[in-house]
């Protein structure tokens, strides 16, 4: 019955998923985006429903209306940030402040929605943490982020009173650098706290997950990511400078690409830069995911995640390239490809215990009753 080693596997296939994906995409377009929430439910149900672990499938049973609410909210923020910036200087800044202030609430409701709607066998996952607790846990780093943002803005206004555009640009560059170094400490601390909070609050049935991660390791990973990013920047800049110097013809090509005048040049440049800048992203993602998941425990089960940065990076950019070349038709296939890779790197060890819930059954878990209004999906 019980084994020491449990490998999750994906049982679906791309052609089946393709049909689901494309029909729902069409419906989303024809309904001007309304159906996209239901499409998300169908897509997610297919993907979750084909992940088999220890003989049983996972299930997503989320309500599409909650997803629709979350998407409307996300779009309001996006519009305020993207379009508001063209007409007013205050709106995008206010949007960022609001997002930082609302972050613990958004995080809690999103996690609660996602987890309490994920089931395996007759039990659901859950996120019983309160919004209050999330605010307490994240107060310090978020307060520091707001403080540094405010300092930045006040100083900017002070300086900007009598200065030329050039001076203000130079000052902006300096301030951005400063902000970068502040974020050097704040970003990993915030992410560390978020991971700690979410993984330690997550439950399966009445069994809580526990994670043991330390801040030093996170700072280390973050520092290395910055190092990778800087290396990539130096390499690309050097590369372009060299090309420019070697021949005038090629430099013309790059200039055209930058101005969007030549399709081939632009495509090549885009590909090259994507390749380069996906590397730090892949490094950060893989290293933190490996670290956090491998430090997670559920009862006597230990999790091991062993993704490789290079393989993940290879999957990332080949997937993107395929999606572009096929004009998006390959997206379902690339999604499954990535999911299969991730699952193949995940193994769970330990004797499988019998899990118990709160005697309420699968379809009436806690999440649904805690005010439907807070149930939003914000895509964290």
């Amino acid at each position: 019955m019980t084994h020491d080693f449990h490998q999750p596997v994906f049982t679906g296939n791309a052609s089946e998923y393709f049909r689901i994906w494309i029909v729902n995409t069409l419906l989303s377009l024809l309904t001007f985006g309304i159906w996209s929430a239901w499409a998300t439910v169908r897509n997610r149900r297919y993907l979750y429903g084909n992940i088999e672990w220890a003989g049983n499938r996972f299930d997503f049973c989320g309500n599409a209306w909650a997803i629709l609410r979350g998407r409307i909210l996300a779009m309001v923020f996006f519009l305020a940030y993207a379009v508001g910036g063209d007409f007013s200087a205050v709106v995008p800044v206010a949007t960022i402040f609001l997002l930082v202030i609302l972050f613990p609430w958004l995080l809690t409701s999103a996690k609660r929605f996602r987890l309490s709607n994920t089931a395996w066998r007759n039990l659901r996952f859950d996120f019983p943490g309160s919004v209050r607790n999330s605010y307490i846990q994240l107060a310090l780093p978020l307060f520091l982020i707001l403080l540094s943002l405010t300092c930045f803005l006040v100083a900017k206004m002070r300086v900007e009173e009598n200065q030329t555009v050039m001076e203000s640009l130079r000052w902006n560059g300096f301030a951005a650098l400063l902000l970068f170094f502040v974020s050097f400490f704040l970003v990993p601390v915030t992410i560390y706290r978020v991971k700690n909070l979410t993984f330690n609050t997550t439950c399966f049935g009445r069994h809580g997950f526990s994670v043991k991660i330390d801040l030093d390791r996170f700072m280390g990973i973050y520092a290395l990511t910055i190092l990778v990013l800087l290396t990539v920047m130096i390499v690309t800049v050097t590369f372009f400078t060299l090309v420019m110097k070697i021949s005038g013809e090629n430099s013309m090509l790059i200039l055209q690409a930058l101005q969007g005048k030549s399709f081939a040049a632009l495509a090549l440049l885009y590909l090259f830069l994507t390749l380069c800048y996906l590397l730090p992203y892949a490094y950060w993602n893989v290293t933190t995911t490996n670290y956090v998941l491998s430090a997670t425990q559920l009862e006597n089960l230990t999790i091991e995640m062993k993704m490789s940065v290079w393989v993940y990076w290879w999957y990332l950019w080949t997937n993107a390239l395929l999606a572009v070349i096929t004009l998006g038709i390959a997206i379902p296939w690339t999604k499954i490809r990535m999911l299969k890779y991730k699952l193949s790197c995940l193994s769970i060890r330990g004797e499988l215990p019998v899990f118990y819930g709160n005697n309420k059954g699968r379809k009436v878990a806690t999440g649904d009753e805690i005010g439907d209004a807070f149930n939003i999906d914000f895509g964290f």
Binding site: L26, R42, V83, W120, G260, K261, G361, R362
Partner: protein, 494 residues
């Protein structure tokens, strides 16, 4: 009928093999050594989705799950309960709907981006107030002055002369801010810029590149075409719109597909919108050149000269992703029989050039826009003034020029002009009655036409008298192909 599956007691992950037996309308769950009757009314059954297992949830919190979707559906159908939402499963499982989606999605997106989005953006762009646009201008120019431009080295006389030439063309769009600025372009070189609020910047390099003022007028007209058509605002709104639509409608994108699949189409769309705007501005330039009596070749000449300044690759017609149409196309579109330096005297020359307009539209434009030589009021010696006893009456009426800016927008309306009929029978002090003029576009052409009117003056008891307060209504109506033109085109209300 039997459906094999697994049964879970309430609140536990421990499953036991079980089967569902359907006999007519009665369902029962059979376990290893027991069996229970199922009340179908209280059962919650998950929707069918491809091969994903189904869940039958009982009110006590226990659950039966099965991978045998087909058997389960048959059993439920036979008992009269059809599972919810079968229609979506029906669409998802057939290949012909997949094929339909593969055809409809691109068509829908193309229609949305080529017709829907520009239409909506065009409407919203007109809602942006003039003051906001002019503030945008001021900000942008301050920024460019600081970073790129240097003060112009042109002489004041040269600037004045150009401004005057431009202002003659600007009577066709009276309600726009028409500030023209000259700057040393620095690294930018020969170029001209139109800002949303109507400010137009010429670089010294461009002014020096042009061989005659007609060429500069062509550029000016092109830039004004951007302003009149609200291109900057529309571009801004359309770019945001594409991102919004792709993000919102397609949704659920991961980081990478987000960047690539939204980023790239947005960029391509932006470029193609930009080319569309350039073409629109080019057409506007043609109209202005025609209306101000210059050959369209002026435009061809300057574009040709500008494009030889750029590298040859940029001239290739194949470059798909470009912010401007290929120079070759633009030159071919505007090349006319007359050289730029010849001021046109009649309509004939213009008919030879092809401008990418539909033949019917072009014919309309040509019919409506008669070019007339600069007008001066005729002296009494030139015409024989009828000084016989009687009230004044009209001797000659002239049609106004249809303002191109109104024409390409399909704007119709009227304008009432009030003036004095002098003792010589000419028109003096014409003014437009603001509340009886539907658009500022019609002000200038109406006044101009009114000045050309001739009357038999009023003679009372042998005394010639001037008559103040005479009104004439100029009606602007675009004649559709096949429709009978109004002849005489303009009604008088005296």
């Amino acid at each position: 009928m039997v459906v094999e599956g697994e049964y879970f007691k309430p609140g536990t992950s421990l499953g036991v093999p079980a089967s569902l037996k359907a006999q007519g309308h009665s369902f029962s769950l059979v376990l290893a050594n027991s069996s229970r009757f199922i009340d179908l009314d209280t059962l919650v059954i998950s929707q069918r989705l491809a091969n994903v297992p189904r869940y039958l949830c009982f009110p006590d919190g226990s659950m039966f799950t099965s991978l045998q979707n087909e058997q389960l559906d048959n059993a439920l159908r036979s008992s009269g309960i059809l599972p919810r939402s079968t229609w979506i499963d029906y669409f998802e499982s057939g290949w012909r709907w997949t094929l339909l989606a593969l055809i409809v999605i691109p068509v829908f997106l193309v229609l949305l981006f080529t017709i829907g989005m520009p239409l909506v953006a065009g409407h919203i762009a007109t809602l942006v107030p003039e003051t906001v646009k002019q503030e945008l201008d001021a900000g942008a120019i301050e920024f460019l002055d600081e970073l790129v431009f240097k003060p112009s080295s042109l002489t004041t006389e040269r600037m004045k002369a150009l401004e005057e030439r431009f202002s003659r063309a600007s009577r066709f769009y009276p309600n726009q801010n028409k500030q023209v600025l000259f700057r040393d372009g620095g690294a930018i070189g020969a170029n001209a810029f139109a800002f949303p609020g109507g400010t137009i910047v010429f670089t010294d390099q461009l002014v020096n590149l042009a061989e005659n003022d007609g060429e500069l007028l062509a550029i000016y007209a092109h830039e004004i075409g951007h302003v009149v058509n609200n291109h900057s605002m529309r571009n801004l709104l359309q770019s945001a719109g594409v991102t919004f639509v792709l993000g919102w409608m397609l949704g659920d994108l991961t980081f990478i597909t987000d960047v690539v699949l939204v980023g790239v189409p947005v960029l391509l769309q932006k470029m193609s919108y930009s080319r569309g705007f350039e073409r629109e501005a080019d057409q506007f330039a043609m109209l202005i050149l025609d209306a101000s009596g210059y050959s369209r070749s002026c435009f061809a000449d300057i574009i040709e000269r500008l494009s030889t300044q750029l590298s040859p690759e940029l001239n290739s017609e194949t470059s798909y992703i470009s912010s401007h149409p290929a120079p070759g196309q633009r030159v071919a579109m505007s090349r006319a029989a007359q050289a730029c330096s010849d001021l046109l005297s009649g309509v004939d020359g213009r008919k030879k050039s092809s401008d990418g307009l539909k033949p019917a539209v072009r014919q309309e434009l040509l019919d409506e826009m008669e070019i007339e030589p600069p007008f001066r009021p005729p002296t009494p010696e030139e015409i024989e003034v009828d000084l016989s006893e009687g009230d004044y009456h009209s001797v000659r009426k002239v049609s106004p020029t249809y303002p191109p800016a109104a024409l390409i927008r399909g704007l119709e309306g009227y304008c009432v002009v009030e003036y004095t009929v002098t003792t010589e029978g000419t028109v003096a002090d014409p003014v437009v009655l603001e509340d009886q003029c539907t658009s500022p576009y019609f002000t200038e052409p109406s006044l101009e036409a009114a000045r050309k009117f001739l009357y038999k003056p009023r003679v009372e008891n042998g005394v010639v008298k001037a008559v103040p307060g005479v009104q004439n209504r100029f009606t602007y109506k675009i004649v559709k192909p096949g429709e009978k033109p109004i002849n005489p085109p303009y009604r008088k209300t005296e």
